[in-house]
């Protein structure tokens, strides 16, 4: 097993750039999730690692070996496809054994020559892996006779049995029913903990990404935007795309303007005014807030804005409230403005549509972004709300 290093990988198809200057270093035994919307280039990155696509520029290292000119079969990596890509004409057993039958290993008596694996060696490996994944009973069945979950296990077994340098998984859970998907997720995590192998997992599903990954690599339009632990991507997104893509429910964004007021600056968005510091000049700024960082109360307390519940989404253990926030109590805006829409995550069944509420938030949790979506690290809320 080995780590994988991508060095300034760019892949261009005719006119479009699918992967744009991606550099990524994956540690030996690490579980890295490449997260992105469809068409973001995440699968192309995986295929470049596998050798199924050749990058236009840049280098791929598996371990310390530069594998740019290696065929897929010489890279000794395993891949689980979204469709599983089992051989339809072979039984589950033969699907798993297939790679072993063409594989050659050095001879014990003469390391310069190689030999095929013996029938017993292959059989032992296939049975061992099948036992581990709980598919020993269905080895004689064809893929068409297996359920989605069983096919997925056969595909995993086919990958594991080869003892590869690394595992590449292309949305392997997306074809499963929602019910078995969460189980499969947990089992995959356990499998990784047991094998301690390098896993590169591509998905568009952030729940999968958050639960599985040691690190998340968030990709958009072929660019690697951030590669960090799940916690860090949530708490310290490098830009607005990552902030909106990671975290559920999605982050709330207030697009407003910073205006010069007296000695300091104030963020203005409709009736909402928030004193801020750390900016050099006025301009368009977006404030990002996690719905679970927004406090909703029935009674007014210092530093809250008055608002109204316009919609409730019952999520089960919690509710997502859609709020319209008007001017802060006591303040008299010079120009009446449309209310500002927010979303907040609160305990289930505490509020209903039409309730008058008071909304506050922890100033330290607010994130600032500039008009291009870049993070403004130095900006913060200077004092509690009026």
């Amino acid at each position: 097993m080995s780590g994988i290093t991508l060095q300034n990988i760019t892949k261009r198809f005719k006119t479009e750039t699918a992967v744009d200057d991606v550099s990524l270093s994956i540690q030996d035994g690490e579980f890295v999730v490449i997260l992105g919307a469809s068409g973001s280039g995440k699968t192309t990155i995986l295929r470049i690692i596998a050798g199924l696509e050749v990058q236009t520029t840049g280098h791929v290292f598996i371990g310390d070996v530069l594998v740019d000119d290696y065929e897929p079969r010489d890279r000794n990596i395993a891949m689980v496809f979204q469709s599983y890509a089992l051989y339809p004409h072979l039984s589950a057993y033969d699907n798993i054994a297939f790679g072993l039958r063409v594989r050659r290993i050095p001879r014990e008596d003469d390391p310069d020559r190689d030999r095929h694996l013996t029938h017993q060696e292959i059989d032992g490996k296939v049975r061992g892996v099948s036992q581990m994944l709980g598919i020993a009973e269905m080895l004689q069945k064809r893929p068409s006779e297996l359920s989605g979950g069983q096919r997925q296990r056969v595909a995993l077994a086919r990958a594991i049995v080869r003892d590869p340098e690394a595992f590449l998984l292309d949305e392997p859970l997306s074809n499963l029913d929602a019910k078995i998907r969460s189980n499969a997720r947990i089992e995959l995590k356990r499998l990784h903990q047991r094998l301690r192998q390098t896993f590169v997992f591509v998905t568009h599903d952030q729940t999968e990404a958050m639960t599985l990954g040691d690190r998340l690599a968030i990709v958009n339009h072929g660019r690697l935007l951030q590669c960090d632990t799940p916690e860090r991507t949530l708490s310290h997104p490098l830009n607005q795309f990552v902030a909106s893509f990671v975290g559920s429910p999605e982050m709330v964004f207030l697009e407003g303007n910073v205006e010069s007021t007296g000695g300091g600056f104030t963020f203005v968005k409709g009736p909402v005014r928030i004193p801020v510091r750390g900016t050099g000049s006025p301009g368009a700024v977006t404030i990002g807030l996690r719905p679970w960082d927004i406090r909703v109360e029935k009674a007014s307390t210092p530093g809250t804005l008055s608002g109204r519940v316009t919609g409730v989404e019952r999520l089960g253990s919690s509710d997502q409230l859609f709020l319209d926030v008007a001017s802060p109590p006591g303040a008299s805006p010079t120009t009446p403005a449309a209310p500002v829409s927010l979303r907040a995550l609160v305990r289930a069944y505490d509020f209903d549509v039409g309730d008058g509420v008071f909304v506050g938030f922890d100033p330290d949790r607010a994130l600032f972004f500039n008009a291009e979506g870049g993070r403004l690290e130095s900006m913060s809320i200077s004092s509690p709300l009026p």
Partner: protein, 289 residues
Amino acid sequence: MKPRRRRRWTRWAKRIASHVVLIIACIFAVFPIYFIVVTSLSTLPIAGITAHVLLPNPSQLTLSSYNTVLLHESPSYLSLLENSLIFSGSAAAIGLLLAAFTGFALSKFNFPGRRTFVYFILLISLFPSVVMIIPFYLMFAKLGLIDSYIGLIIPYSAGAVVFSGILVKNYMDSIPDDIEEAALIDGMSRTEAFFRVMIPLCLPVLGLAAFLAFMGPYTDYAYAHVFLTSSDKWTLALGLYNINSSDTGTQNYGLVTSFAIVMSLPIVAFYMVFQRYIIGGLTLGAVRG
């Protein structure tokens, strides 16, 4: 009760109507075969006479035509069959192999002009093959390939490639790229993946292609007639024509029909052996998933 009854009536009416239609269609399909069988068992002067065909008298039926066709014709039936099998078998084998490669390349490889090439092949297949006889003849006469086995196997195989290549391509298009890529990741070269994964997956369409590639030369008269001059290389189709145009001036229906039957037996046998694949190939697309 009333609507139920009516429904039962309409069901019966529908069933009867469909049976009538099917029986008529069946007569059209089966009667010629019946005609041939009865006629082949009859001799002149009654062979081919309508009254006899419709109500044959068993005492007048005889196998003598078969005896003549199989044992007393020149060139002999076995020699004709051997030639036919050589031509058809070679054309099917060569054509099939090339069609598999062609289909694979056209389906799974990206090369400049691929679409143009596909349309070009489709265009070629629109021409009746007879159109090409004269150019082929002139070309092969220069090459000294007239009246040789190889000289006829080449155009037969070429014909098979043109048609079957597209057939195989269309089938391979329906096989996801993932499966071939899985084989590449599993440690195979593209050649190994082709023979160990793609070919086994394509067996249904290859069976159909083999059957069609075999049938073409087996039933061909035009090419064989132009290219083969010496009777020891004649095929069954030429033998059939030879019997038909006997020098007595009369048409011996008994001989012609019994020859037609023994000529079709190898095809029937071939079809029975490959039936599974051929039917699979013909119903492609209907049962995917």
